[in-house]
């Protein structure tokens, strides 16, 4: 088996449909959370909320598959060692543990999707998470996946847990809380390995953090995740702190999300103007 397995090669059965991540962001139609031109947190009383919750759950499910695949590839892609192209033995053990956790998350997500009334393949899949897991530098890979994307997962699970609570769905709330605990662990793994593997290499650390910024900005999903009153997905500060994020790092993510929001609005305005002319 070769080292490095591209996102295009990810093996899926016939139910899955792949689309580009940006296809959704470029869609000039408002997000379900923006009906009437206004954003709002995910609450059960909003029109379209059940459909959005199901869509989000399906997105979580496909994200979990890719997280499982990415952690698995990190077990395989790098020889054991301490060189720049190697992965330490203990890092691989952490990735194997993450494989188990992500496999459980897939199982949970399938069952929750079924519980919420959706089925595998009802929504399209974009390989955005796995693409970050293809970075050839193990430190950058862990920083991009475990700190940026698993960090996003913390925000999403926290939002879904709250949605379960306010909508009176104890099963959703229960499961999201358990997955949230695992995600904090995964993000902490990323934080710990970043610091450990770049302790004597500030240049590599900066490259890793820059990669995280790129991933964080790209996957702020048009600013849908943030700290504004109307942010559909709330930045989960407390859980990010538990996972090893400093206050200023969380502030930076909030700022990136704000910028992504402004860029999306500008892009949509231009699209509408172009269509009108």
């Amino acid at each position: 088996m070769k080292r490095a397995w591209s996102a295009d090669e990810l093996a899926r059965d016939g139910r899955f449909v792949r689309i580009e991540f940006m296809a959704r962001a470029k869609d000039p139609r408002p997000l379900p959370s923006e009906q009437g031109g206004r954003r709002a947190p995910l609450t059960p009383d909003r029109p379209g909320a059940p459909e959005q919750a199901r869509s989000l759950m399906h997105g979580i499910f496909t994200g979990e598959i890719q997280a499982l695949e990415g952690a698995g590839r990190t077990c395989w892609d790098f020889p054991v060692g301490n060189g720049p192209d190697d992965a330490p033995f203990e890092l691989k053990l952490d990735m194997a543990r993450q494989c188990w956790d992500e496999a459980r998350h897939c199982e949970i997500s399938v069952k929750l999707g079924d519980w919420m009334g959706t089925e595998i393949g009802e929504f399209a899949e974009s390989a955005f998470l796995y693409e970050a897991a293809c970075n050839p530098d193990p430190v950058l890979r862990l920083t991009g996946v475990n700190r940026a994307l698993e960090g996003l997962a913390i925000d999403v699970f926290n939002t879904m847990r709250d949605f379960g609570e306010v909508s009176g769905d104890p099963i959703l709330e229960f499961c999201e809380d358990w997955m949230l605990a695992d995600e904090v662990t995964h993000v902490k793994m990323g934080s710990d390995w970043l610091r450990r593997m770049t302790a004597d290499d500030p240049e590599r650390r900066e490259r890793a953090l820059e990669f995280q910024r790129v991933v964080d900005k790209l996957f702020s999903i048009g600013g849908i995740r943030g700290e504004d009153e109307d942010s559909p997905i709330k930045l989960a500060r407390r859980f990010r702190e538990l996972a090893g994020f400093a206050d200023e790092e969380i502030d930076e993510i909030a700022q990136l999300s704000h910028e992504a929001r402004q860029e999306l609005l500008t892009q949509r305005r231009r699209t509408v103007e172009a269509q009108a002319s």
Binding site: K2, I65, L68, G72, W76, A96, C106
Partner: protein, 223 residues
């Protein structure tokens, strides 16, 4: 309550553990190093294959089993310094070139259509040989002096048996035609021959009776 001053035997009547064992400290460390090497190759392969198999149930099982074998590797890694090997990497070695050839052949399949071959290599060849070697070790080491290795073997064997069953059931569910029976058998025969050449996961003597391993008679130890 019984008289607290009354002398009791140090070993209860039902405790039949004995001192003699078939392995010295050095022999045990060498075997444990081979175990760690094979567990590492296995968890790496299972992790790598997750992205290559389209079957969702197989994908999730491989992810789960990947951790089982990583945990076994960690158990063996931690056991080595307790066996006077302060540099665990020194003994984290394949038993011989033939076992390397086996692992190379086992990890060769990568295309999405080759799930049967991937599973056969692990669940019909490697894991049964691991169970055999671990069981031989368990049944022949000193039940008193080597209790820590026995504890790890017990934990590992429990996973191995459950994973073996999981894997075998997945294989049976994937094989739907006589041609697929042949595919599975051909691949299994190829890998079994390579494992035969290797002498087992710890080399000749993996399950006793060969040179480089105890002859099967426990070493006499005078207590």
């Amino acid at each position: 309550m019984a008289d607290p001053k009354k002398a009791r035997p140090p070993f209860s009547p039902w405790d039949r553990r004995e001192l003699p064992g078939a392995f010295t400290v050095e022999e045990t460390a060498k075997r444990v190093g081979h175990y760690k090497w094979i567990e590492m190759r296995l968890f790496e392969a299972l992790g790598g294959w997750v992205a290559t198999v389209p079957e969702l149930d197989v994908k999730m099982r491989l992810g789960t089993h990947c951790y089982h074998h990583a945990w076994h590797a960690e158990l063996w890694h931690k056991r080595l310094p307790e066996l006077r090997e302060m540099n665990p990497d020194r003994l984290t070695q394949p038993a011989n070139d033939e076992i390397v050839a086996f692992i190379d052949a086992m990890t060769e399949p990568e295309a999405p259509e080759l799930t049967i071959e991937k599973l056969v290599g692990v669940y019909r060849v490697l894991i049964p040989h691991k169970i055999a070697a671990y069981t031989y070790h368990l049944n022949n080491t000193s039940t008193i002096t080597d209790a820590p290795t026995i504890r790890s073997l017990d934990f590992a064997l429990r996973d191995e048996f459950e994973d073996w069953r999981d894997g075998e059931m997945l294989i049976q569910s994937l094989i739907e035609t006589p041609a697929e029976v042949d595919r599975a058998a051909v691949h299994q025969v190829r890998l079994e021959k390579l494992m035969l050449a290797a002498g087992g996961i710890a080399g000749p003597g993996s399950i006793g009776g060969e040179q480089g391993a105890p002859a099967g008679e426990p070493t006499e130890v005078s207590a």
